[in-house]
Amino acid sequence: MEIKWYLFLSIALFCIGVVGALTRRNSIIVFMCIELMLNSVNLLLVAFSKMHLGGAIPNVASAINAQIFVFFIMIVAAAEVSVGLAIIVMMYRNTKSIDINFLNRLKN
């Protein structure tokens, strides 16, 4: 399959993530949208890696670099999940709500 279909798919996933993160009010859903963004990047990197491998002159080193990069993204995303969910739980204990609109009180 051509690379452009993978590109379209992951850009579409990424845009869903961006729009969701900017418009939804529930912080867990915002968080899921951000994870979607990260995973669309993973998909794109793997597709590009395959592209570099399948060219006329296979570029093995750069293909492997991208796949390693994907593992690092997964690890960092896991670290972010652990911190982020802890923050959301802490917020829920104090306000009994995970709605982002609560955040606007900070301005006053």
């Binding site: 993160a21 915002v30 972010e80 802490m90």
Partner: protein
């Protein structure tokens, strides 16, 4: 390499030390010892002595610029620990962990001042950001701190997603398929579409990290909501490390095509300067005023990115020192005050002359009055833009904004010297003699670097 490994190890030591330290005053001394070791190791590396010799396959590259920035950030952290050690103990129960998180941030700072691949850029920025989210929310019972932390976390993770997309597009768009920042193939003439999109996404995400307009909106709320001691750390060292990474990335990988993105940076700089300075004028709380002033200073630091010549690098090093020391000192004084509004400073001169005098020097330096380091660093920044010679209107705008900044800084100075203190007993501040000596030393650093900026700048060319 020394700094990266020692700071990570010392962070682990502090983390496990939390189990063994019986009294909450002990971690402070361990942290101060750690930062001294870190500083010594970094200076050794500056002299060419590597304690750890690890083959990193060229993924990290240590040059004088990055190492000197490390030195400055460690000196500022040292000052931060000495000035605020007792306040960090008051934030919560897990004192040792706070110090551990700060050491992990320093590890991220050292990575982002020496990365040579996009992977290391990403890891460095994340290692810096994730502990910052925790530090922001460390005051667990305080709703403001919770909200600030959630906001910072969501914004930070969002900008990380943008940055990763940018990196992926740059990787796919160049035929070499390399993550090394000096091997990105830009082609001749017009940029390929994917690389251009990646470049814009990287600009947006890094602007998020350094709180440049129009992506600055989280900064004021987060800096206001976080515990004051940690605000002073995040607004100085974390932010400037973001700038170092920003400049390193753009100089090495996109420096050749500077003409094509310079206008974008110029617009971001102008917007940051205007928004930061104009909103700071209307703030009543000194903490919030300093938060907006940190946005305004981000605007001045963007000049280094705009110009990207040697003067700009010298200026950024000097700016890192002057801005960090002045802001850390000002926040250290602010933490001691019971009232964070400008009225809280009324007549400080009458009952705490040392605090009043040093606060004045810090504020004058932040304004950029001659003979302080703030003036010298602003001068270098504007000189870099003039030498570049493309957008002179930006320099004019910066000078006007520096004049506007005098309004809000001088309001605090006016309150200190010319307003009457509250009637009755003077507020009792918990200030020790050592604290005053340290403030005097910080003020002396600022004046010394203002009179002889070459002392700091010349290190770059050793």
């Amino acid at each position: 390499m020394n700094a990266i490994i020692i700071s990570a190890l010392w962070g682990v030591v502090m983390m496990f030390g939390g189990v063994f330290f019986k009294k909450s005053t002990i971690p402070k001394y361990w942290a101060i010892a750690g930062i001294i070791i870190l500083l010594a190791a970094n200076i050794l590396e500056f002299r060419g002595i590597q304690i750890f010799n690890i083959d990193v396959k060229g993924m990290l590259h240590f040059d004088n610029f990055g190492l000197q920035f490390n030195t400055i950030s460690f000196i500022c952290t040292f000052l931060f620990f000495l000035l605020n050690g007792r306040e960090i103990e008051k934030v919560g129960e897990n004192v040792s962990e706070y110090f551990a998180l700060i050491f992990f941030i320093l590890c991220g700072v050292s990575i982002s001042s020496s990365f040579n691949t996009l992977l290391m850029l990403f890891l460095g920025i994340e290692i810096m950001s994730i502990p910052s989210y925790i530090l922001t929310g460390s005051d667990k019972r305080n709703l403001k701190s919770n909200e600030a932390s959630l906001k910072y976390f969501l914004m930070g993770a969002f900008s990380t997603g943008l940055m990763l997309m940018g990196i992926a597009l740059i990787y796919g768009g160049n035929s070499l398929g390399s993550f090394y920042i000096n091997m990105i193939e830009l082609g001749t003439g017009k940029m390929p579409v994917m690389i251009a999109a990646g470049l814009v996404l990287l600009v947006v995400s890094m602007s998020f990290k350094v709180s440049a307009a129009p992506f600055h909106f989280w900064a004021a709320d987060v800096y206001d909501g976080a515990p004051t001691v940690f605000t002073s750390f995040m607004a100085t060292i974390v932010k400037i490390a973001g700038f170092i990474a920003f400049i390193r990335l753009f100089q090495v990988s996109f420096g050749i095509i500077q003409q094509q993105w310079q206008m974008l940076i110029a617009v971001i700089t102008a917007a940051t300067l205007l928004i930061g300075n104009l909103t700071a004028v209307f703030q009543q709380s000194v903490k919030r005023m300093l938060a907006y002033s940190s946005i305004a200073h981000a605007g001045f630091m963007m000049f280094a990115l705009f110009a990207l010549n040697n003067t700009a690098k010298e200026g950024l090093i000097l700016y890192a020192l002057s801005y960090s020391v002045a802001t850390i000192g000002m926040f250290a004084i602010l933490v001691k005050m019971s009232d964070y509004t400008i009225e809280g400073f009324n007549g400080l001169y009458k009952y705490q002359p040392v605090l009043a005098c040093t606060a004045t020097i810090f504020l004058l330096s932040l304004t950029g009055i001659p003979l302080t380091a703030g003036f010298a660093s602003k001068f270098y920044m504007l000189l870099a833009a003039v030498k570049d010679g493309h957008q002179i209107w930006l320099v004019v705008l910066a000078v006007i904004c520096a004049a506007i900044s005098a309004v809000y800084y001088f309001r605090a100075i006016q309150a200190i010297y010319f307003k009457e203190p509250p009637a009755g007993a003077y507020p009792q501040l918990d200030v020790t003699r050592n604290f005053k000596y340290l403030l005097i030393i910080s003020a002396a650093i600022i004046i010394l670097a203002g009179i002889l900026p070459s002392l700091v700048v010349d290190w770059l060319y050793y």
